[in-house]
């Protein structure tokens, strides 16, 4: 009896320990997790960081890292190897989980650490050829000893940090998800660069466009997609003369129509992923030297996508923001030049309908003969389950995906091969290596010539007084509109026949107007002799920037800060006066008229405390839906929706536009009726969802600016960040997207930088420096960047590496 009792007790104890040591569902192993010595409590920063000396044996000479009061590291090394080794080490020290999880995602390995829930995402990543592209990039790096040596130095530094860690020192996310850091490799840097390409150039409308062309016809496509709004002000000024002839490409006689209307998944990039940059020449500034500004708009997360750093070694002294996992500074400046990037929305992702000989998929028809496919076997490890092997077939275009029709789900599936810039071999790190050391315009152009993807508008300014902008990347040389619809996989005329030579990439240096700028709008005017794509951001941000820069004289860094924070809505200014003219006021109640008055008196600035931006936004989107939904939802096929700026223009100049009528009613609706109905719907929806006249109506709350944790762990993000802006404003903050780094650089004998990002240096949610800059970012403040010419005497703490 007694033995049974004690035995039971022991059993119970063992069971309790095992249960508390095991991750169950998403609940971390509780005993391990709550242990004050090694669980999450060990990640709470209880003392300010102190100076330390490290004997790493990996570096060749001594390295010093000085942290300034914002905990930005300033690395002073004696050679390139040590510099990148240390960058890897200290980046891992602050951001290890982020580095790892981003590459797990980019390589389709999330299920390995999280479990079967992430399997679908991994399969898609693999079938898009993400690991295939990274393998090719690694191969290219291996053939380029210089690129390989810096990526390897960086990896060695990361690994030195990882191997110094004991389990209690793992970042908290490892304890929540219950896994361990693994060795960092140059391949992971390649994965990370491909992840950027997916975020910024993983976009196409091919199937939607084929469907739209078939369903609504050529006139509709001509009206909505071929014509740019009149207010469009292209990145390269329309006055630019092109003194070269385009390399000719052969075009098919008629456009291919895919056999059925299918969906290839959503690749639409949410608006808000876009950016602004500009540079003004010394003729327009107070100092007489150029000023450069850049604010890349990305999905905002904690930790931030960016990590600020200064890199100093013989031949290099540069400051700016870096990506976790990539050696060098991506956006920044040195003593001679400054540079920044915005995305180019060129079409570099095309789908081809494939004709297989039989169900074995071993051969496909191309150029009049059967050609063999190749295969890649993707091994996907799944936490708690058996490893899955997925065979992906490749044509010469790329990986093949099988799709069932949404319209006729019973019909045979179709096969589509993907040709995508992310599959190109690339050594993009060389570009940043070059930019970080550039002294003048020629160095900048040389550095850009190594760049493949994601294509960026590289803005530039130098101490020599030059300003420039290159629309830069590797662009396929296409016939007009090639690849905007689904392509014929059997016809070589649909293949990417070649590339636009780098020197033909759109660019401008020292234009007469005294400034260069980009905000993701169309790169060029129609006079440019190559076709690059037809789906750019609306004109609004770009035009606002150019309007302002044209007017401004004696510009200071502070003026540029103000412009980055500009909340003006060109969209509202264009369409709202019309909507107010169209609305029928007779049927509106007292309180409805009151709300309408708010909108009438609005100055078109998307300021946080105002109610009008929220009301206008809902009103416009209801109107947009009321005009288009009846036609667009009359088919199951997914279609390409017109851009906001183009529809605005059509309404303004053609109030009798046929889509205004609701095809589901017998009556013929007028624009006045739709505008009035939309306004009524706006107020009743907002009242129901937000309550009448509550603070939730304020734009700063309505816009839902949440900065979520990278892995969406509740409590680790910042919710309801009250701030102005809008997707069509220069300050493009909205709904968790927006300026992920604001930087202004004033060139001159003493280059001065200002910057801020919505995060903090540390990736540790238990550190005060995890989100220490969010408040400054929210209120439109900037920090002066501590660009050091020599080792500082004043610093918060330092790490000496021997």
């Amino acid at each position: 009896m007694h033995l049974i009792k004690s035995g039971l007790s022991l059993l119970l104890l063992l069971v309790l320990i095992v249960v508390l040591n095991t991750k169950i569902g998403s609940i971390p192993p509780l005993g391990k997790f709550f242990d004050p010595d090694a669980g999450f409590w060990a990640n709470a920063e209880t003392t300010a960081p102190e100076s330390e000396e490290l004997n790493l044996e990996g570096t060749r000479d001594k390295v010093s890292v000085f942290y300034d009061e914002r905990r930005v590291p300033h690395i002073f090394a004696e050679n390139d190897y040590d510099l990148y080794y240390t960058q890897g080490y200290i980046t891992a020290k602050d951001r290890l989980f982020q580095m790892e999880v981003q590459t797990y995602d980019a390589s389709g390995r999330l299920a390995e650490i999280i479990g079967p829930d992430l399997l679908e995402r991994d399969l898609e990543t693999r079938r898009l050829g993400m690991p295939y592209g990274a393998d090719k990039a690694l191969e290219a790096m291996k053939n380029d000893p210089e690129a390989m040596s810096l990526v390897q130095a960086y990896a060695n530094g990361v690994n030195a940090y990882i191997s110094s860690l004991s389990a209690d020192e793992y970042p908290i996310e490892y304890k929540i998800l219950d896994f361990k850091p693994e060795e960092w490799t140059p391949l992971k840097t390649a994965h990370l660069l491909k992840a950027m390409t997916k975020t910024l150039a993983g976009r196409n409308d091919d199937m939607r466009m084929s469907n739209t062309l078939k369903y609504f016809g050529e006139d509709f496509v001509e009206t909505f997609f071929n014509i740019s709004p009149k207010l469009t002000d292209p990145i390269i000024p329309a006055t630019r003369v092109w003194d070269f002839k385009a390399i000719p490409v052969q075009k098919p006689d008629s456009l291919f129509v895919p056999t059925s209307t299918q969906d290839l998944g959503e690749f639409e990039r949410p608006e808000g992923i876009g950016s602004n940059n500009w540079a003004v020449s010394g003729s327009k500034t107070e100092s007489g030297f150029p000023i450069l500004a850049n604010d890349p708009h990305l999905s905002l997360t904690l930790p931030s996508i960016w990590y600020e750093v200064q890199l100093h070694a013989p031949g290099i002294n540069t400051y700016g923001v870096s990506l976790q996992g990539v050696p060098g500074v991506i956006i920044g400046f040195n003593e001679h030049v400054a540079w920044g990037v915005t995305n180019v929305a060129s079409d570099v992702m095309d789908w081809y309908e494939v004709k297989f000989k039989d169900s074995s998929k071993r051969e496909y028809w191309h150029d009049g003969k059967w050609k063999p496919t190749t295969t890649r076997i993707e091994e996907i490890k799944i936490r708690g389950q058996e490893t899955l092997l997925d065979t992906v077939f490749y044509t010469h275009h790329g990986p093949v995906t099988e799709k069932y029709s949404r319209v006729n789900p019973e019909s045979e599936p179709s096969y589509y091969a993907l040709r995508w810039i992310a599959h190109e071999p690339s050594t993009d790190v060389n570009t940043f290596y070059g930019l970080n050391r550039a002294k003048n315009y020629d160095d900048y152009v040389e550095a850009l010539s190594h760049y493949v993807a994601p294509a960026q508008n590289f803005v530039f300014a130098s101490n020599e007084g030059d300003i420039a902008l290159w629309v830069n990347g590797k662009f396929p040389n296409k016939w007009k509109y090639q690849g905007r619809t689904v392509s014929d996989g059997t016809d070589p005329l649909y293949d990417w026949q070649g590339w636009i030579p780098h020197e033909h990439n759109p660019h401008v240096k020292n234009p007469k107007r005294g400034f260069v700028s980009s905000a993701n709008q169309p790169s060029v005017a129609p006079s440019y002799p190559y076709y690059m794509g037809d789906d750019y951001a609306p004109f609004e941000r770009g035009r606002r920037i150019n309007d302002r820069l044209r007017e401004m004289e004696n510009i200071t860094a502070q003026d540029m800060q103000h412009l980055q924070l500009d909340n003006y809505s060109y969209h509202a200014a264009t369409i709202l006066p019309e909507m107010l003219g169209w609305i029928d006021r007779d049927g509106l109640s007292e309180s409805e008229l009151e709300k309408l008055k708010l909108v009438e008196e609005w100055n078109y600035f998307n300021d946080a405390e105002k109610l009008a931006p929220s009301i206008f936004r809902v009103w416009w989107s209801k109107l947009y839906d009321n005009i288009l939904d009846d036609e667009f939802e009359s088919t199951k096929a997914s279609l390409r929706y017109p851009a906001r700026d183009r529809l605005t223009e059509i309404l303004k100049y053609d109030a009798g536009f046929e889509f205004i009528d609701d095809i589901n009613t017998e009556k013929v609706e007028t624009l006045n009726e739709l505008v009035t109905t939309s306004f009524n719907q706006t107020l009743s929806t907002m009242r129901t969802v937000l309550g009448d006249g509550t603070e939730e109506w304020q734009w700063g709350y309505y816009a839902e600016n949440d900065i979520d944790h990278l892995a969406s762990i509740p409590g680790f993000g910042r919710e309801r960040v009250f701030t102005g802006g809008g997707r069509e404003s220069v300050n493009a903050t909205r709904g968790g997207n927006g300026p992920s780094w604001r930087m202004i650089v004033e060139l001159g004998p003493e280059v001065k930088g200002y910057g801020v990002y919505p995060g903090g240096a540390s990736g540790n949610p238990g550190s005060p420096d995890y989100d220490s800059m969010v408040e400054t970012w929210r209120t439109g403040g900037f920090f002066e960047l501590k660009f050091m010419k020599e080792k500082p005497t004043n610093y918060l703490y330092k790490i000496e590496i021997n």
Binding site: S9, D35, P36, G39, W41, T46, I713, G715, G766
Partner: protein
């Protein structure tokens, strides 16, 4: 009381070097040697680790200005960071309680009475 004090001391030392479940060892050992009654064993064992882990957590909570415990409270949806401290104590306490009980039961002299208070 001595039993509790010894468990606290040895758990603290072991937990420094060994994984978290090492906190069960002092309970097993001292429960065996002190041979408390079942109810007392459970109670004193619980108290020991509840105090130890609770105090450690509370110290970190204050030294960290509650930054992390507030985030964890939100993650676990328990409302207050002090509840996170309390949960820490309870988890440690439960393991130690069961361990001390097991030790005491194995001592095989359940009838003998001894006071520890």
């Amino acid at each position: 009381m001595l039993l509790t004090a010894l468990i606290i001391l040895f758990s603290f030392l072991l937990n420094f070097f060994l994984p978290w479940w090492s906190i069960a060892l002092p309970g097993l050992v001292f429960g065996y040697f002190f041979k408390p009654k079942a109810f007392a064993a459970f109670g004193w064992g619980f108290l020991a680790l509840f105090l130890l882990w609770g105090a450690q957590a509370l110290y970190i909570h204050f030294a960290n200005d509650g930054i992390l415990s507030t985030r964890i409270a939100e993650m676990l949806q328990v409302g207050s960071p002090l509840l996170v401290v309390l949960i820490t104590g309870v988890i440690g306490g439960l393991v130690s309680a069961l361990a001390t009980l097991t030790g005491a039961l194995f001592a095989n002299k359940p009838q003998r009475r001894r006071s520890f208070s």
